[in-house]
């Protein structure tokens, strides 16, 4: 089965002063793929997705999405092209209700008119399992609901590629299954997903392909079963 290439990052490099956070990292993601990205703390995973979503500008290399060069494009332009992300530490719009949170991407990224916002927003909350929280203040949600809101808000941009940045960190095992379930369902709808995660059980189950970063370099890439048995990966996680 051949699938179209959706995202193509070539030799992406990012430096913070003298510190090299990403050293010529390349990865390509295909349309509809479930793609995992793992690595120890500080290995550059979040920096990589910041470069893809545009909140950081890469110093070297280039990123192509759907055949178009992303370099120089602002985050909101990338969002409108179809790249959505959730944040590791949830960033709800705290002065707004859950539904109003979705109104922002619905209006600004998917071009919904004020009258469609409620209907489309509720439909998304329905699939995410937040419908009964629609009218609540988003700043007062529980951790799991905030993670769900992050995903719901990303959904509301109508993405082709969703980057989930540690959406499950700190959640209980049933909550992890909850989020996994949501991500699987999004994928079934044709959304390509890059999952960044520390919870191995979740990434291994979810991903069709995984890349491993360590100290800003890509040290392995392959199917989950290949990654588990890779000596280089073992060394990165456990030391010599």
């Amino acid at each position: 089965m051949t699938r179209e290439r959706l995202l193509d990052a070539r030799a992406v490099t990012k430096r913070f002063g003298g510190f090299v956070a990403l050293d010529e990292v390349s990865l390509d993601v295909e349309q509809g793929e479930r793609f995992g990205m793992i690595g120890p703390n500080g290995s550059g995973k979040t920096t990589m997705i910041n470069c893809i979503s545009g909140t950081l500008a890469n110093d070297g290399g280039g990123i192509v999405f759907k055949g178009a060069m992303l370099d120089g494009k602002k985050p909101h332009e990338r969002t409108r092209l179809g790249i959505a992300r959730s944040f590791q530490i949830p960033k709800p719009f705290r002065s707004m209700t859950v539904l109003e949170n979705l109104a922002i991407p619905l209006e600004y990224a998917s071009g919904a008119g004020p009258r469609e916002v409620e209907e489309r927003g509720m439909a998304i909350l329905e699939t995410i399992g937040l419908a009964d929280r629609a009218g609540e203040n988003s700043g007062k949600l529980t951790q799991i609901d905030m993670r769900k809101l992050e995903l719901a808000r990303a959904m509301a941009t109508e993405p082709e590629l969703l980057i989930s940045d540690e959406a499950m960190a700190g959640l209980s095992s049933t909550e992890v299954d909850d989020i996994l379930d949501i991500l699987f369902r999004m994928n079934e709808r044709g959304i390509t997903i890059i999952m960044i995660e520390h919870i191995m059980r979740a990434v291994m189950r979810f991903s069709e392909r995984i890349v491993v970063l360590d100290a800003g370099r890509k040290i392995a890439e392959g199917r989950p079963d290949e990654i588990v048995n890779d000596p280089e990966v073992e060394r990165a996680y456990l030391g010599e």
Binding site: S53, T55, K74, P75, H76, T79, R80, A84, R85, F87, K91, P92, F93, R94, S95, M96, E100, A103, I104, P105, E107, Y108, A109, S110, P114, R153, A156, T157
Partner: protein
């Protein structure tokens, strides 16, 4: 735009203003218009400040700079061609809108306290420029001879009061419209979390520039009639820090996230200041502002509007 109770009230206030200034319908002391002008001027300034500070969370300490540039634009127009007030107001607004746009471009990378400091610096730089500009009187200031009376208002101050009333209605209506528009929702998203807003598709830079431009326009408009009101303008009065302090304090006291906040705050605080100026001393103004501000920041961080909402919510 849909018409509702707000527009009816606004029209009624404008008509009432016309009635008392043109037909002298109520036995109002001349001083009331003189003081009322200042209060209304603060309604415009506080509303203008709130578009950036309240809706978007960017604290502008340079209100006095914009206000003074509006006032001095009028001086220039008067010196050039003896322009009437009807010309001064839109031109002053346009100049300050451009100034706002420029400030937005220069400071767009700054957030939080750094943005506030940059705006304060802008006001100081502008004051220095005006002090050294002889055409507008430099440090000694400039006179404008205004008519004592103007038809059909009679007294000129009553005319200025009416003009400022219309400007205040315009400013509050504009703020209310913005608040309820897609732009206003984008502002709120920026205030809550700028990075998340950008990633949700909000063009944050463009919205910030819209806010600085609109806010600057309204501040300039508020400053335009100032020279005619006092008849004499000099840098230290036009660039007075009091404008900046009041235009921050009023929305904070009233409630910064909604159009009603700066309106309530300016009417309340502005009136108290005017009364205090006459009855106690003109130096007491800032003390009152300070005490009220401390009180509200501690006891009611969402201002009077927030308090009212809480009471209503608690009664349910």
């Amino acid at each position: 735009m849909r018409l509702d109770a707000f527009h009816v009230v606004a029209a009624a206030v404008a008509l009432l203003g016309a009635a008392v200034t043109i037909f002298d319908l109520l036995p109002i002391n001349k001083f009331a218009f003189f003081a009322g002008y200042v209060v209304l001027q603060y309604v415009v300034l506080a509303t203008a400040w709130n578009i950036m500070g309240g809706y978007m969370g960017y604290v502008n300490f340079g209100t006095a700079g914009f206000f003074a540039v509006g006032a001095y634009t009028s001086v220039v127009l008067y010196n050039l061609m003896q322009a009437p007030l009807i010309v001064m107001i839109p031109v002053a607004g346009a100049v300050c809108a451009l100034l706002g746009l420029g400030m937005g471009y220069l400071t767009l990378r700054l957030r939080g306290v750094f943005f506030a400091i940059a705006t304060l610096a802008l006001a100081i730089v502008l004051e220095t420029l005006v002090v050294n500009w002889d055409y507008v009187g430099g440090a000694t200031g400039a006179y404008i001879l205004r008519a004592r009376e103007i038809a059909p208002f009679g007294d000129y101050v009553e005319f200025l009061f009416f003009v400022m009333l219309l400007l205040a209605i315009f400013a509050v209506s504009a703020a209310r419209w913005i608040e309820r528009s897609k732009i206003g929702r984008g502002f709120a998203a920026i205030r809550d979390d700028e990075v998340a807003a950008e990633c949700a598709g909000v063009p944050t830079l463009r919205l910030k520039l819209i806010a600085t431009t609109v806010s600057g326009f309204l501040m300039g408009v508020a400053g335009a009639p100032f020279v005619l009101y006092v008849g004499f303008v000099e840098p230290s009065s036009a660039f007075n820090l009091v404008y900046a302090v009041n235009s921050i304090a009023m929305p904070m006291i009233g409630g910064a996230t909604t159009w009603a906040g700066p309106l309530i705050g300016a009417l309340l605080l502005g009136s108290v200041q005017q009364v205090a100026t006459v009855t106690i001393s003109s130096e007491l103004n800032l003390l009152i502002v300070g005490v009220l501000l401390v009180f509200f920041v501690i006891a009611a961080p969402e201002g009077i509007v927030g308090l009212v909402r809480k009471w209503r919510g608690g009664g349910r």
